[in-house]
């Protein structure tokens, strides 16, 4: 169990370093065991340094930087241990347009390994989907859904 954990941890760490630099277009990130002697009990430290900035505490990162760093970590797990499917509920809410584009590319890339179900209000994210389910309430308080194939859709700004 100990050997398995250490191997997995080393893989996730490599992935995180790579994905962070990809999403932030630079900078450095790392995950470190607080207590190397006890890998199965130890807490886990996360270090993030956006490009050009000094190493700082995670709490000083901006809302969008924290979300992007978390996305890098989530996809680090999916890279080594792809889950059968993945449900992401508005994880793009804090991102600006440029980061939204990078997120969209990452999701398209990973959707070849794991099925992705993404709940979003952002147009740019919707554009990457092969299929869209629209959930509405024609009758107040009761959900109804309709499936649309994206090949016939053009997204208008005000659509959702």
């Amino acid at each position: 169990a100990r050997k398995q954990f250490i191997e997995m941890f080393a893989q996730i760490r490599e992935n995180f370093k790579e994905l962070f630099a990809q999403l932030f277009e630079g900078g450095q990130a790392d995950i470190v065991l607080v207590d190397e002697e006890e890998p199965l009990e130890s807490g886990i430290e996360i270090i993030c340094r956006p490009p050009g900035k000094k190493l700082s505490q995670l709490s000083l990162l901006s809302g969008g930087e924290k979300a992007l760093a978390a996305i890098a970590l989530i996809f680090s797990f999916l890279k080594s241990r792809p889950a059968p499917f993945c449900i992401l509920d508005e994880i793009d809410a804090a991102l600006d347009e440029a980061n939204l584009q990078r997120f969209k590319e990452l999701v398209s890339d990973y959707s070849k390994r794991s099925q992705m179900i993404i709940i979003t209000h952002r147009r740019r994210t919707m554009e990457s989907a092969g299929r869209v389910y629209g959930v509405t309430m024609e009758e107040q308080g009761v959900s109804k859904s309709v499936c649309v194939d994206t090949s016939q859709l053009t997204f208008q700004e005000g659509m959702v």
Binding site: A1, Q4, F5, M8, F9, V34, G43, I44, I46, L58, S59, L61, G63, K66, A67, A69, I71, L73, I74, F77, L78, S80, R81, A83, P84, F85, I87, L88, D89, E90, I91, S111, S114, Q115, M116, I117, I119, T120, H121, M126, S128, A129, G130, R131, V132, Y133, G134, V135, T136, M137, E139, Q140, G141, V142, S143, S145, C147, T150, M159, V160
Partner: protein
């Protein structure tokens, strides 16, 4: 292994019977505030055995049953079935598809079924162990919780690492 179909009946705002087909690749779920998008994600988590009432945003287990509106009666039970593709035999059962069903009644009684045969919650947890969809899954991220892993304390981060190994 992937999600093929989802059947919902009486779960939160899904008052009638619903069927969702999923293909591989990316499916987007869109719609107005309060229309039921996160309820869909709750339905899948619930069917896979989620026990935390707090994660399901209610205060009792029966809070997932359709509570009724000004023009519709409440439901007597909630039922969700998740149909998973097992062509790659990731789940060690001799079926191409495996369906997992969960039901709860107003009196609090609940049932779990695998391919229509009643089982215990333990059997469902055992089935998904090691797939990444277990209790501390990194594959389902709730609304507003994306940066929870970044903002939490070092000792609280163990869960998702243990899930992956």
């Amino acid at each position: 292994m992937q999600l093929n179909k989802l059947y919902i009946n009486g779960f939160k705002t899904f008052a009638g019977k619903f069927e969702f087909d999923f293909k591989e690749g990316i499916t987007a779920i869109v719609g107005p505030n309060g229309s039921g998008k996160s309820n869909l994600s709750d339905a899948i988590r619930w069917a896979l055995g989620e026990q935390s009432i707090r994660l399901l945003r209610g205060s009792t287990l029966a809070d997932v049953i359709f509570a009724g509106t000004s023009s519709r009666k409440q439901s007597g039970m909630a039922e969700v079935t998740v149909v998973i593709d097992n062509g790659d035999r990731a789940i060690p059962l001799e079926y191409d598809e495996v369906s997992v069903t969960r039901r709860v009644f107003r009196n609090g009684e609940s049932q779990f079924l695998i391919n229509g045969i009643e089982c215990r919650l333990r059997d469902i947890n055992d089935m998904f162990a090691g797939t990444g969809l277990g209790k501390e899954t990194y594959a389902v991220i709730e609304q507003g919780k994306v940066d929870a892993i970044i903002s939490s304390q070092p000792n609280d981060r163990r869960g998702i690492f243990d899930e992956a190994s």
